[in-house]
Subunit: 407 residues, 2 copies
């Protein structure tokens, strides 16, 4: 298979899935997710963005029976897609920017990073919010209510981990449709509680309201020393890139489910119950990490965010990426390039950090992470060096729009 | 009109409205809203609750054309309603209690109050979250997108005001259906921004996701001295009850709209753009208020919450309640007892505080508030003394289920 397929197929899959799953969405309009300081818990296709805080088109996951036929294959041109609404996401980012605070006074980190950080008398209070919506970010066929609750807390902890922060409390805003019973909500809370216990949070309040569709909005607060905050913007040429956690399991598990209806629990656990790398985040922050992000949108997309925020390039060795067990087998079975999942999938919640080269070996050992590449000088770009020595620009998607159709 | 109608009509109205507006709800099942530490931005009927943190059945607001005929009139018995699902709200409260933290260590206030308070090195960090859902908490026919944004911030500031806290930052989780354009979202953010400016907050981040229905989940963080926090639970016999702000405007304005389709902007402003009484909250906290709550569920319901949390009774003079201008006229026109709106309506976002009697006159002057009654010893109960000298128990709803039908 041509490597031109790597990104193209990810996009096409997420695009058609969006159309099928979000039944209020028109067939030719991808769903959209825009994050201002937190990562959405969704699989998302690669998009070059102006701000580094835009992610387009969560990979929604219709059950196989409900999947609509692929009616439309958008061409990808310079990071824009045909078929997008004329008032697109770039327009929206520009519209909203004036209303969002980035920094200043006691605001150490505002919108545009994984979480906000406020200086409270020298202590850093770190805040993130993520919303999980049924049929956009999870399917009840794949995830139990307990899984959804667990994940709603975990993804926020992952955002805090990427700042070097330690979560402390959570609040939940729950939109509850009538087909969600009290027992369902109890299970959701059980899942949240399990995640809270694992990462040392207390659930201190919230608001449950009647709604048409199930959505869980969790806010997590955490602690960080203001001077210890790691942003996306500090990566420097010569830094090494470290990944803690494995890549591709959720994307491969979901692709397998979509293609065959099979549940591979070993892969889907990454989607159902992601692991927030809180301790590793602290270790990396303490060890001098210059930039950090959690890999929620896909490795390539999130590395692109770091490169754009830091004004640097990055070169990554594909063979060094820590692929999750079982990803290669799914890729082979579905005749998809494995890097589709490893570099292009999302929902991994691995940590990606830029660290000073001399510190990299020790930090890798301390966190169980692996060095996957290097930060270079130059305009923002994220390059993947494939096993055959050729390279792919993970940020630019224009490269593939001459590729042949997949059989 | 018999005073037995006061509560009955409020309940019946909110019940039928719920059924009509929430089209996923079955006709005989009211929508529900459960708040763990924050007030929902909805009109709600009176309900006696075990925990003081439960509010049932937001008054949803279908446009007149969409209103369903009243098919079912539930009987109200001991705070329970027939027609509720067998696994009702009391069951849910009991199910969730084990997962929610109330206090301990650095958690000054957990679930069960208007907001949570965490002690961060001697500084109190105050957190609240409220979710506003279209067709449950607002109608686009009544509120502009800017109004919705404004209100989503204001109602959280009101929760913080009731703790004596000062808001500092806000985060937004936005569920965006496809019929909400970029321009709509910009207007929503303009409204949030206006409210942020008014109460001194910065909007520091959030998450926007595709969804079937419009919902806005806002989290607000604020500052408070941990020793200055005012809970619901501190009211003592002999304290005076002070109300800052006026009552009944939103309920009357919405009732008029529902009955006639008329927009009375002077009344609806309370529903569209509520005022958070932040400065008054601080003044009351500094002045020794023993308990405080914001009046979001309706005066009687919220006073009941305070009485239950504090283990006291309360007697209120109906004529002392600060009715908003125009409420009496709507009540007369619709042939409804005005206390339906004044004591039974919601969305007022007035502050209700218990203050030591000697401090009451000065605090009333300083805040523009009025003394409406007194805290008394005895089992939790909230009594309204009507102009004719008779009394109504605002907490207990069993009293009215022998009342005659309204013509």
């Amino acid at each position: 298979m041509s490597r031109r397929w790597i990104f193209r197929s990810v996009f096409a899959a997420s695009f058609s899935a969006s159309c099928a799953a979000c039944f209020q969405l028109s067939a030719d309009t991808p769903s959209s997710s825009i994050e201002f300081n937190t990562a959405t818990a969704s699989l998302q296709f690669f998009a070059t963005t102006a701000s580094g805080c835009l992610s387009v088109s969560p990979l929604t996951l219709p059950p196989p029976a409900a999947r609509a036929p692929r009616r439309f294959r958008p061409r990808i041109v310079d990071g824009h897609t045909e078929g997008m609404p004329s008032e697109g996401e770039f327009d929206l980012i520009a519209r909203l920017a004036p209303f969002l605070a980035t920094s200043g006074e006691d605001l150490v980190v505002g919108h545009g990073d994984d979480a906000a950080v406020i200086d409270v008398d020298g202590r850093g209070v770190c805040l993130a919010v993520d919303v999980l919506v049924e049929d956009v970010h999870f399917l009840r066929a794949v995830s139990s209510m307990s899984d959804v609750g667990y994940k709603s807390v975990a993804v926020n902890c992952s955002d805090l981990a990427a700042m070097g922060a330690t979560p402390s409390v959570a609040l939940v805003g729950l939109c509850r449709p009538t087909d969600v019973s009290s027992a369902d909500i109890q299970q959701l809370y059980e899942g949240m509680s399990e995640a809270c216990e694992r990462w040392g949070l207390r659930l201190v309040g919230g608001d449950t309201v009647a709604a048409q569709a199930l959505a869980v909005s969790v806010t997590v607060m955490g602690d960080v020393a203001p001077e210890g905050v790691v942003r996306r913007s500090g990566a420097r040429p010569g830094d090494h890139l470290l990944v803690v956690g494995s890549l591709g399991a959720a994307a491969a598990g979901l692709a397998l489910y979509r293609a065959t209806g099979e549940f591979d629990d070993d892969l889907l656990i990454a989607h159902r119950r992601p692991v927030a790398r809180v301790a590793a985040g602290r270790t990396l922050a303490d060890g001098g990490a210059t930039a950090m992000i959690d890999v929620s949108d896909g490795f390539g997309a999130d590395l692109t965010h770091v490169c754009q925020a830091s004004g640097v390039g990055a070169v990554v060795e594909a063979t060094a990426l820590p692929a999750a067990d079982g990803v290669a087998a799914v890729a082979k079975r579905l005749e998809v390039d494995p890097y589709t999942y490893i570099a292009g999938g999302g929902d991994d919640y691995a940590l990606l950090a830029a660290v000073p080269a001399p510190a990299a070996p020790a930090l890798a050992t301390a966190t169980g992470g692996v060095v996957v590449g290097e930060v270079i000088a130059g305009p923002p770009s994220a390059t993947l060096r494939l096993p055959d020595g050729s390279t792919v620009d993970m940020a630019g998607m224009g490269w593939d729009h001459y590729g042949e159709e997949r059989a």
